[in-house]
């Protein structure tokens, strides 16, 4: 009963080729980085080798881990709120057609808004600290998750739902056999974009006002102009972001290609 809503799965590329491409892209990226380093100079941009060394030293430093833990905790809570909340809200709005029509343009408008302008409001409500960061990350993430889930549920083809009715499936069977497989690929897309924005929100929150966390460390490093430290944290965040996002992308393609 698998239903594909996307057909983006590239059937031609084998897994080996994909891996070779990825390695090639990393090498190219490092090369460009090295050239930029040579062009901009030591003060502006540390070299890839320097950055990796600095990152290694950072990871061995016990003082570094509480900051990672702080950011990770905030991210986890924000992801939980955005992911589960957006999923529930999106499903409700997708099933109830009129409320979906009413809410969608409003959600799109909020999505386009630079939410950083609302950060002072969140700080005034939640005060400085963990809850403000979580709230700020969550409002970044929850809107795309809701929008994608809404569209995923609404775009299930009526013929599939009719088939479920004709076959007299119980609500539970219809959910498992029709609704979930039909909507899942697009829901995963929403979760992937929601993840990216939640991470951005948490880091922005930490950069603007915080006493702990990776964003705070970056702001400190900017103040001290400690370029290798900035680059090391940026590299760590980029690797984490790309790996998580690629994992979700892989899942999405697998789900999309099943039909």
């Amino acid at each position: 009963m698998a239903v594909a809503t996307t057909s983006r799965a590239d059937s031609g590329a084998s897994r080996g080729q994909g891996l070779r491409d990825a390695v090639l892209m990393v090498v190219c990226g490092a090369l460009v980085w090295q050239l930029l380093h040579l062009w901009a100079g030591e003060v502006a941009l540390s070299s890839p080798a320097q950055t990796v060394t600095r990152l290694g030293a950072l990871l061995a430093d016990p003082d570094f881990w509480p900051n990672v833990l702080e950011t990770a905790t905030a991210l986890l809570w924000a992801l939980l709120i955005a992911g589960v909340g957006g999923l529930g809200l999106g499903t409700l709005l997708g099933v109830h057609r009129l409320s979906g029509q009413v809410a969608e343009p409003l959600l799109v408008a909020v999505y386009a808004l630079p939410k950083i302008t609302l950060y002072p409001l969140i700080l005034l409500i939640f005060g400085l600290g963990m809850s403000a960061k979580v709230a700020f990350g969550a409002i970044h993430g929850i809107i795309p998750v809701t929008l994608f889930t809404l569209n995923a549920v609404r775009n299930i083809r009526p013929v599939h739902l009719k088939t479920a009715r004709v076959m007299r499936l119980t609500p539970w069977q219809a959910l498992r056999g029709v609704w979930v497989p039909a909507a899942l690929p697009e829901i995963v897309t929403g979760q992937r974009i929601g993840f990216a924005l939640t991470l951005l929100g948490v880091l922005l929150g930490e950069m603007f006002s915080s006493q702990r966390g990776l964003g705070f460390m970056i702001m400190n490093a900017i103040g001290l102009n400690d370029v290798p430290l900035i680059m090391a944290i940026a590299l760590l965040l980029a690797v984490f972001a790309v790996l998580t996002s690629s994992g979700l992308l892989f899942l999405e393609r697998r789900l999309g290609a099943r039909g």
Binding site: M25, Q101, V108, A112, I116, Y119, L123, M231, I233, A234
Partner: protein, 253 residues
């Protein structure tokens, strides 16, 4: 469709009135939030005494530059990558993960490279906007009907004319979606950079007012940003819907 519009308007008006009532009756303290009517009054006052113009022009200038650059470069890169399927397959997962990387951390490096001026902010706005345009250009080019391209070949059009007279108009609705996202992302990139890192512009002025407990200025400017973004977005949305309807592409929601 009409009833949805009315419900939406009622909902928004109701929310604003509720907020007004809650603020006026003191359920929401003035240190947290001021009533919407006072925000509007504060905004009008800022326009009357002219204090709003320097940050407003600065921010809008930066957003406009970032937006034009990201749409132009995004479209050209999209055309190039579309013509090279092998490259596209290699780039695909990276493009999909692009927005997960927080660019603000590169601001200090951009300052050293470009100097202490508006350029680093424009670059961040550009970096935010360009990939949205690129991805939508690819999407649009994918959907150009084969028969149109064949017609072009029959008429012996060169690659430049094919791109300009067939691909561009045929992909236009999807390009417009890219344009819409690029505007939003340029705004987000520019205002967020100003907020955290710079010393001028609307974002900075809001952050400065926050640090000085100047809630009136802060909320007035927040309202201004909200109004600008919603206005720009609605104009583009209406244009996009009209284009989609003309081509019979509008999804019947």
């Amino acid at each position: 469709m009409r009833s949805a519009l009315w419900i939406r308007v009622t909902l928004v008006v109701g929310a604003v009135l509720l907020l007004e009532a809650l603020c006026r009756t003191g359920v929401i303290q003035p240190v947290t939030m001021i009533p919407p009517s006072r925000m509007a009054g504060g905004l009008i006052a800022l326009f009357q005494n002219g204090k709003v113009y320097p940050p407003l022009t600065k921010t809008m200038g930066n957003v406009a530059t970032a937006f034009v650059l990201s749409v132009g470069v995004g479209f050209l890169l999209g055309l190039m990558i579309h013509a090279a399927p092998r490259l596209r397959r290699a780039l695909d997962p990276w493009l999909a993960s692009y927005y997960a990387v927080p660019f603000f951390v590169f601001y200090p490096l951009l300052i050293v490279i470009f100097g202490m001026n508006d350029l680093p902010i424009v670059v961040i706005g550009f970096l935010f906007g360009v990939v949205a345009m690129l991805l939508n250009t690819l999407n649009g080019l994918d959907r150009v009907a084969q028969v149109l391209l064949k017609t072009g070949r029959v008429l012996r059009m060169g690659p430049a004319r094919t791109a300009l007279q067939i691909r561009l108009p045929a992909a236009a609705p999807y390009l417009l979606t890219g344009v819409k996202l690029s505007v939003a992302y340029s705004f987000i990139g520019v205002i967020a950079s100003e907020f955290i890192l710079s010393g001028a512009g609307l974002g900075y002025t809001i952050a400065y007012a926050f640090n000085n407990f100047d809630n009136l200025t802060m909320y007035s400017l927040m309202l201004l940003v909200l109004l600008i973004v919603v206005a720009v977005n609605s104009v583009l949305h209406v244009w996009e819907q009209r284009m989609l309807r003309q081509r019979g592409l509008l999804r019947q929601g």
